[in-house]
């Protein structure tokens, strides 16, 4: 029983915040490795709370990192690797969702708000401009003003 408990605790300990990429995973080609890191930062670790596979030490994240590197070593392009991972794990795996119908509002929100805000401001500025200009003086008033200003 005690041994079982100990094994369980050791298992728990192994889950801790040790870190992600281990030396044995690193590719020998630095350019390829850099691409692998960039891709890893965009893929979600499915069993973690809010980590990319690059940051996580979970088993699944490690498997994915190795998978990404295998595909890269086979000569796949970055897009092809990501497409492959998405085909296996679904879009949930992408930390930066693709632009499509269901993410239209997400991606469109900043631009939409900027446009609406700018338009509102423009309308308000035009209205204010008209107000501040006021009505021009009539000929009569101009005549009076001239007289007043003459010494």
């Amino acid at each position: 029983m005690n041994r079982l408990l100990l094994a369980f605790f050791l298992f728990l300990a192994s889950l801790g915040p040790t870190f992600a990429v281990n030396p044995d995973e690193v590719l020998s080609d630095p350019a390829l490795e850099a691409r692998a890191r960039a891709i890893s930062a965009e893929l979600r670790c499915m069993v973690c709370q809010n980590q990319s596979i690059d940051d996580s030490n979970a088993e699944l994240a490690k498997d994915l990192r190795v998978l990404v590197r295998e595909r890269l070593a086979n000569g796949d392009s970055d897009e092809a690797v990501i497409d492959y991972v998405v085909s296996r794990y679904g879009e949930f795996v992408l930390l930066k969702p693709r632009f499509e119908t269901k993410t239209m509002i997400l991606w469109g929100m900043p631009i939409l708000l900027l446009l609406v805000g700018a338009a509102t401001l423009l309308v308000a500025a035009l209205k204010r401009g008209r107000q501040s200009r006021g009505t021009p003086l009539s000929d009569d008033e101009k005549e009076k003003l001239k007289k007043l200003l003459q010494p």
Binding site: G16, N22, L95, P110, A118, R128, G129
Partner: protein
């Protein structure tokens, strides 16, 4: 017995809050002085009662009274005293009690320092504060009672989550809550203005210091949290766009916008309706943040569904206050008359631009945080919105704003001269580009965007200095005159400059770390060396040790530069006994503004261990900049004009109706 007294004090606080919520508002209606004055005494009484209740819970933690369920669940008798105290708010029930304590603390402050406030305004403000207090006291008493007993009392507690056993927990949540909840005062002022249907520059002069204070604390809380995550989590990141972080970042963005729009309202009586709306939005985002963090809806929609009582209660609070506030706004906003007229190119115009970008940024973060939840609830589709999304959208939004920042203080009110200001900022742009190039050259190249990022940061700093120099007439008048003018500048001018300089410094830190940090992952055996950031690290070996409630393994590294030993680093892994939970204690050494960050990984082979070493150039700029922003906030707050309750000086031009502030 004392525990029950604490519980009872909370019930009494609820009763007091009910009184404070109902009678003063009636008094303001009937113009009954006695009823209105009740607000202040009730607010102070309520604060004392909640403070007593909080003290009792703290007492239970300090004495390790495990007959209290909350203490048993989150404490341990071996825990050092400081973590016993900070453990009070290291859990759901306790942190809600802290939230409430700070809320009623702010009410008591308004009651004490608001002597000069118009009677009806004060009564209404305190009443609105009390509505919030009632809601949250009920929440605590009905769903999250920290005083629940456990019989029979266990002999030992379950201990606090080890990640939380850190000074960070002692400082971060109180600061964050001071900021979060501080915006409740702005909210209450906005609602009171809507109830009265009247708002003037004096109102803005009252709201500004509260906004400033809340904003300064929130800045402190967020940056403290960021540094804590940086050294505690052990993977060297300092901002993760985690929903919990976003929850505190959204009110910060909205609060920053509010700070600037309240300025326009105070000086020029313009943007009244917008400022009121912004005050409501800022606190609504604080409430939303509380809901997101406290309901468990973020971890997963299912966590929310399994124990929905708390979540639904906060959701009800959220709907009541946000919905109520916006309805009231829609109903009454037309009564508030628009004021001052200004040309698009003017200081007002610049501040409006600031508001446009900051609110859009806040909305973007909000959309990104909630989108996965809403989409899953509506269609069942699961998507993730993570750091790459936020970095891209938020970064693009911030660029034009950062470039515009130095223009704001230099533009004149009403109608500004854009070309003239651009000319005056020419030197700042030049300085920025030169420093950017020099740094780029010194780092031996790198991403070209980094050059412009550094240049932008330096331009922000130089631009703020330009403003101070121009205001004191440097170069145009004699040196001693310029000095006299400089020291005679209002404190708020220094505050503005400090905060904007801080922004530049933070930006430099972010750009430098993002572009130039190096990371080395190696398996090391004793005696092996690794180079990082121009230093050589030698791994000397491991040592076992133990603390009061944990055991640890530490690795020792000797750091040398050019063959000379400079310093050393201990980096550890800990195992906390009560929860059998491991943590990393990264070894960090500071060199100027840069840091070496060493984190230990798994033991792979005999005597060998995986080590991850980062060189983080200029990383301290990130938090140094936020410190400057905070300093700017405090300096501004000490401006005579804003000091709460300070009598008005005769010198001040009479453009602002003084009557309301008397």
């Amino acid at each position: 017995m004392i525990i029950e007294l604490g519980h009872y004090a909370l019930v009494l606080a609820l009763a007091t809050a009910f009184v404070q919520a109902a009678l003063p508002i009636l008094g303001a209606r009937l113009n009954d002085r006695a009823l209105m004055e009740l607000a202040s005494s009730a607010a102070i009484a309520c604060f004392l009662l909640v403070a007593f209740s909080f003290a009792v819970l703290t007492f239970a933690y300090v004495t390790s009274d495990f007959s209290v369920r909350n203490v048993w669940e989150n404490s341990h008798s071996l825990k050092p005293l400081i973590y016993k105290i900070s453990g009070v708010w290291g859990n759901h029930e306790g942190s809600m009690l802290l939230w409430l304590l700070i809320l009623v603390f702010f009410s008591a402050l308004v009651a004490t320092f608001g002597r000069n406030l118009p009677e009806t305004l004060k009564a209404n403000v305190l009443a609105v504060q009390a509505w919030i207090a009632v809601a949250f006291t009920l929440f605590i008493l009905l769903t999250s009672n920290p005083f629940a007993r456990l019989i029979p009392a266990p002999g030992e507690g379950k201990d606090l989550n080890p990640i939380l056993q850190d000074v960070g927990l002692a400082i971060h949540p109180p600061l964050l809550y001071l900021g979060y909840v501080g915006f409740s005062v702005c909210f209450s002022f906005a609602i009171a203005a809507l109830i009265e249907g009247r708002i003037d520059a004096a109102w803005a002069r009252w709201v500004r210091p509260w906004t400033l204070a809340a904003w300064t604390f929130l800045t402190a809380g967020i940056s403290m949290g960021s540094y804590w995550a940086y050294y505690e989590l052990g993977w060297g990141g300092w901002w993760f766009w985690d929903p919990v972080e976003n929850a505190s970042f959204m009110p910060w963005l909205a609060g920053t916008a509010l700070l600037h729009s309240a300025l326009v309202m105070e000086k020029r009586e313009a943007l009244k309706i917008w400022t009121v709306l912004l005050a409501i939005m800022t606190f609504s985002l604080s409430l939303l943040g509380t809901f997101l963090v406290r309901s468990g809806v973020l971890t997963s929609v299912h966590a929310f569904a399994t124990d929905p009582t708390r979540g639904i209660f906060i959701l009800a609070i959220l709907v009541f206050f946000i919905g109520g506030a916006f309805s009231l706004f829609a109903y009454r906003a037309s009564r508030l008359k628009a004021g001052g007229i200004f040309a698009p190119v003017s200081k007002e115009g610049a501040l409006v631009f600031n508001n446009l970008i900051l609110t859009t940024a806040a909305a973007t973060v909000l959309t990104g945080t909630l989108y996965p939840l809403v989409l899953e609830a509506l269609t069942g589709d699961k998507i993730s919105v993570g750091p790459p999304f936020f970095n891209m959208t938020f970064g693009l939004l911030m660029l034009p704003l950062l470039f515009a920042v130095p223009f704001g203080p230099l533009l004149a009110w009403k109608r500004g001269d854009l070309m003239g200001v651009a000319q005056r900022l020419f030197a700042a742009v030049a300085v920025g580009l030169v420093v950017g190039c020099v740094y780029y050259y010194a780092m031996n190249g790198g991403p070209i965007l980094a050059l412009f990022g550094i240049a932008l940061g330096v331009y922000l700093i130089a631009g703020s200095v330009t403003d101070l120099a121009l205001r004191s007439g440097l170069g145009k008048v004699a040196g001693n005159v310029a000095w006299r003018r400089f020291s005679g500048l209002p404190r708020s001018a220094f505050g503005t400059a400090l905060a904007h300089i801080g922004l530049g410094v933070t930006l430099i830190g972010i750009v430098a770390v993002t572009a130039f940090e190096t990371e080395t992952v190696v398996e090391m055996k004793p005696g092996m060396t690794v180079d990082a950031g121009g230093y050589t690290l030698r791994f000397d070996g491991m040592r076992n040790g133990s603390g009061p409630n944990y055991s640890e393994e530490s690795g020792h590294f000797t750091i040398s530069s050019g063959g000379v030993v400079v310093t050393d680093i201990w980096s550890s892994k800990r195992l906390y006994q009560a929860r059998r939970m491991p943590t990393t204690e990264a070894g960090i050494r500071t060199f100027g503004l840069s840091q070496l960050y060493v984190s230990l990984g798994d033991q792979i082979s005999e005597g060998g261990i995986v080590v991850r070493i980062w060189w983080k150039p200029m990383i301290l700029c990130i938090w140094g900049g936020t410190l400057l922003m905070m300093a700017g906030g405090f300096v501004s707050l000490s401006d005579r004009r804003l000091r709460v309750g300070a009598p008005t000086r005769a010198k001040r031009p009479k453009t602002i109706p003084v009557g309301a502030a008397e």
